[in-house]
């Protein structure tokens, strides 16, 4: 029987935006078990929220995550609006949609860059993040900030989109079309990327359903769910767009879903910008208080459904505020996808659910083999993943990236 070695990834690790501890149990090259430990970034936000009034709560949940920093606020204000039966002006619904979809594009580009980096395609990384800058510029134009937009409030939004800004937003948006097409062709038609990601880390439809997987992780397995369509909110039922699903559930399909979703996001934003000048009226119904009751708000964040539950006793603070981010459901699916795969593929499989915890990116880890101590750093794992790409190039004769060797 092969010796079992534990390869710890985390708690602080360059593969993750945030601290989390994956213990890969490995026999030879094969992963046989995965143990996941959470809690390194537990900040007690649900409890903190009970000490904030309903407007402050929105700012608090905005800081759960820097990347999804408008998804949590949208779900949060929708929960308060559901509890208090508050109407939201139509113009505000369109503005929420624009900001939410811009966030989706920048988040998907960020993931695409990281995925390219892990596979050794550093050009994809550089290009994806370069064009992500344009999206952040649009967000800055609309909200005043690149992240943490401070746009949402119960009853509407805090800032209007000026009609005079729309041509500039449109121009930046048009500039994104060709780069996204380039990524689509670069990723979807590259035989080396096919070889590295097709059939790797497969999540079946049954597994996705049982684990309650969400977002692109679910849709790549043929689990056809999207809160924007299934539970219409904001302006998603007022514009035309399609939910992107694929069937294979592997790393490749998860990438395909995210890339094609960017086209849908651009489509949604363009329609919203077209409609906005004709929708007159306020952007905030300015509710005086949240009446006693309970409410649920959910929004399709880039990684899947964000869920907020708020209970109000009629005071200006929630009695209970429950938050569930999509990674809470998606990360456990790694137990199914990574077992049976090789350590070199574990990097991209764990990254394929686009795990999101917060924003600490530090060093890696020690430990352990029966034959003596061995250090497995983040660079080691990324190098192993890249080396697999290079080995494939040698074996198949395919052209691809050959970046400089890693520093030891």
């Amino acid at each position: 029987m092969a010796k079992r070695t534990i390869v710890p990834i985390g708690p602080y690790h360059a593969l993750q935006e945030e601290p989390e501890f994956f213990k890969l149990h490995v026999e030879g090259e094969t992963v046989v078990h995965l143990d996941i430990e959470l809690g390194y970034n537990h900040r007690g936000i649900e409890k903190l929220s009970e000490s904030k009034d309903f407007e402050e709560t929105v700012f608090l949940v905005e800081r759960i995550c820097g990347i999804c920093s408008t998804s949590h606020p949208i779900a949060c204000v929708q929960a308060a609006e559901d509890a208090g039966e508050i109407e939201v002006p139509e113009r505000a619904l369109f503005i929420r949609t624009v900001v939410g979809e811009l966030e989706r594009i920048h988040s998907h580009l960020l993931w695409l860059g990281l995925a390219g980096h892990f596979l050794g395609f550093n050009t994809i990384w550089m290009w994806a993040w370069r064009f992500r800058e344009d999206v952040l510029n649009i967000l800055e134009l609309i909200t005043g900030n690149r992240n943490h937009y401070g746009m949402m409030k119960p009853g509407g939004v805090r800032r209007d989109i000026n009609d005079t800004d729309i041509p500039a937003i449109r121009k930046l948006l048009e500039g994104l079309q060709d780069p996204v097409k380039m990524f689509r062709d670069a990723v979807l038609e590259d035989p080396l990327i096919h070889a590295r990601t097709k059939g790797v880390g497969v999540l079946s439809l049954e597994q996705a359903t049982a684990y309650g997987a969400l977002g692109p992780t679910a849709r790549a397995s043929g689990y056809d769910i999207d809160v924007r369509r299934d539970h219409p909110h904001a302006a998603y039922d007022k514009v035309e767009w399609d939910v992107v699903t694929t069937q294979n559930g592997d790393v490749f399909d998860k990438a395909v879903v995210r890339i094609l979703e960017m086209f849908e996001s651009v489509r949604i934003i363009e329609q919203c910008l077209h409609e906005l000048p004709a929708i007159h009226g306020p952007v905030d119904s300015d509710p005086p208080f949240i009446s006693p009751g309970e409410g649920i708000g959910h929004y399709e964040a880039p990684r899947g459904e964000v869920f907020h539950y708020i209970r109000s006793d009629g005071s200006n603070r929630p009695v209970r505020h429950k938050v569930r981010a999509p990674s809470y459901m998606n990360v456990p699916t790694n137990r199914e996808t990574v077992v049976g795969e090789t350590v070199a593929d574990a990097t991209i499989i764990l990254a394929a659910v686009d795990p999101c915890y917060c924003c600490t990116e530090r060093m890696a880890v020690a430990l352990n083999s029966p034959g003596g101590e061995r250090l497995w750093g983040a660079q080691d794992l990324i190098r192993m993943s890249c080396e697999k790409t290079w080995k494939l190039m040698d074996e198949t004769g395919l052209q691809g990236p050959r970046p400089p060797a890693f520093d030891d």
Binding site: G39, K47, G293, G295, I296, V319, M329, P332
Partner: protein, 145 residues
């Protein structure tokens, strides 16, 4: 499917399990059940209604600890919340993790933060808190300092 059809389908499947119902809007249903029927009711929601477990919420209320299971009916634009109340002195529920692994983490979380015991859970240990967290100290209870 209309909101009424959805409601009738859920009520028909859950039958006598439902002790109380609130239907504040077409998109939201809140049902109360007895603690001992949690597994059976969840099984109906997951297997017969084919609902998606969004998450569960635990709340320390004056009457005891309330646990709410939020089920999404994605095809019907409806969220059905099934709630139950357990006593603070002996808070025990049957685990639904063996029914759907989606519940595994949240049951661990409610166990450590509110002290609800989930019988039959495959791996009931700390999720967010340190492994050495003092026994009997539950941060989301009102009594917590």
């Amino acid at each position: 499917m209309s909101a009424n059809d959805t409601l009738n389908r859920v009520l028909g499947a859950l039958g006598d399990h439902v002790l109380k119902m609130e239907h504040p809007s077409e998109r939201r249903v809140y049902l109360e059940i007895a603690p001992e029927t949690v597994y059976e009711a969840s099984s109906v929601m997951f297997r017969e209604i084919c609902a998606r477990l969004m998450i569960a919420t635990g709340i320390d209320t004056p009457g005891g600890i309330e646990v709410l299971y939020h089920w999404a009916l994605d095809g019907d634009d409806c969220v059905v919340t099934v709630r139950t109340l357990v006593s603070r002195e002996k808070p025990v529920l049957e685990s639904i993790a063996k029914l759907c692994p989606a519940a595994e983490w949240i049951e661990r979380e409610i166990w450590e933060l509110l002290g609800v015991e989930f019988e039959g859970h495959p791996d009931l240990r700390h999720l967010l808190l340190d492994d050495n967290w003092p026994t009997g100290d539950y941060p989301l209870r009102r009594s917590h300092g």
